[in-house]
């Protein structure tokens, strides 16, 4: 599957099928700090992701001061 990441913006290829929470583990990302988006839909941790999927992992943390 194609996985789009931010900070910096890049796209990587990951072999499926696998659960969303396993993708987080593989990429060493914290669930609470990200959303997984497939098309227009949000993906829950327990949903399966497949080779043909195009996924965006979007960081949700912002802030300075």
């Amino acid at each position: 599957m194609q996985v789009q990441l931010s900070h910096p913006s890049r796209t990587i290829e990951i072999k499926g099928p696998k659960k969303a929470k396993d993708l987080f583990k593989e990429l060493n990302l914290v669930v609470e700090a990200h959303l997984i988006i497939r098309g227009d839909e949000l993906v829950t941790e327990d949903e399966m992701l497949y080779d043909q999927d195009q996924i965006e992992i979007r960081p949700v943390i912002s802030g300075g001061t």
Binding site: A33, T44, P59, I61, S62, G63, G64, T65
Partner: protein, 301 residues
């Protein structure tokens, strides 16, 4: 679908929107932030939290206008400004809401980065001062009843952690989600999103097709707040509900009227008495050590 580990629940879009509006409604009522007749000025940046706040307040039927401060951070400000204008035209205007814009470069002759260098202060601190000043100025000039910012649970928990780590007690009083207009020249400030996490607000924005700026402000790189948020999110992932317990527990303690402090010795004297077996202090008839030994002897026979 969106899963919310801290509530041990997952919601479809419709139910999630009800949940978000309910959390905002509870925040507004519990902190007596504003009523349906009050005129609200929302500080918008083009990010998910402030645009979601404007969206939620308008959909809940509040009279909410907004202020955008263009900080002059090159392409980043151009994009965020465009996102705010687009939201204003497509979502807010149909509700009769107005967008005010203040451009730092027009007034100061330089963007935020150059200003910070001129006065030898960190960019984030300079930015905060300018935004607070302009926000208050516009609120007073246009006679708004209250100013609302998009600070969320993560923002408040991270700020609290920073203040507690360094025991900056003088700042703790200002961590309330509702700060009154304490004197003439200060408008009332509220944070209606303090019960919602950043992840929940990002999810609300995605589900409701709010087009916000995803990129991080280039000036925020290395900010300590981001480190505190990262630490809190690692704790939250291991133990869902940590951020809420930390910040809302702090608010609960603040609300309780101060009573004269009881010393540990006074508490012990009120609760403890000698164990009937060994005479060491205990809250029960027989102390836990004597109970444990008695049980061990019974099993060994």
């Amino acid at each position: 679908m969106i899963d919310l580990p801290r509530h041990n629940a997952a919601f479809c879009k419709g139910c999630f929107n009800v949940y978000v509006h309910d959390q905002v409604s509870r925040a507004i009522k519990s902190e007596r932030m504003f009523g349906k007749d009050d005129r609200i000025l929302v500080a918008v940046s083009g990010g998910k939290d402030s645009l979601a706040l404007w969206d939620i307040l308008l959909k809940m039927g509040y009279k909410a206008d907004a202020l955008y401060v263009n900080l002059g951070i090159g392409g980043y400000s151009d994009v965020s400004h465009a996102k705010v204008v687009k939201f204003s035209e497509t979502v807010a205007s149909p509700h009769g809401a107005v967008l005010h814009v203040h451009t730092v470069e027009q007034e100061a002759g330089a963007g935020i980065k150059e200003l910070a260098m001129l006065i030898h202060r960190p960019t984030c601190s300079t930015c905060g001062t300018i935004k607070r000043y302009q926000f208050n100025r516009v609120a007073l000039e246009h006679k708004y009843d209250v100013m609302a910012t998009g600070h969320n649970l993560d923002d408040e928990a991270a700020r609290l952690l920073g203040n507690v780590l360094r025991w900056q007690e003088e700042y703790l009083d200002k961590q309330s989600p509702s700060l009154p207009a304490s004197l003439d020249g200060f408008a009332k400030k509220v944070k209606p999103l303090f019960r919602l996490s950043e992840r929940e607000l990002a999810a609300y924005s995605v589900l409701n097709r709010i087009d916000y700026i995803v990129e991080e402000c280039p000036m925020a790189k290395g900010a300590r707040t981001l480190l505190y948020k990262e630490v809190l999110n690692r704790l939250e992932t291991e133990s869902p509900g940590t951020k809420q317990a930390f910040y809302c527990g702090f608010l609960d303690k603040q609300r309780k009227p101060e009573v004269s402090p009881t010393t540990m010795a006074e508490k012990d004297q009120a609760m403890l008495h000698p164990c009937s077996v060994c005479q060491q202090p205990t809250t029960a008839e027989v102390c836990s050590y004597c109970k444990m030994m008695a049980r061990a002897k019974t099993h060994s026979v």
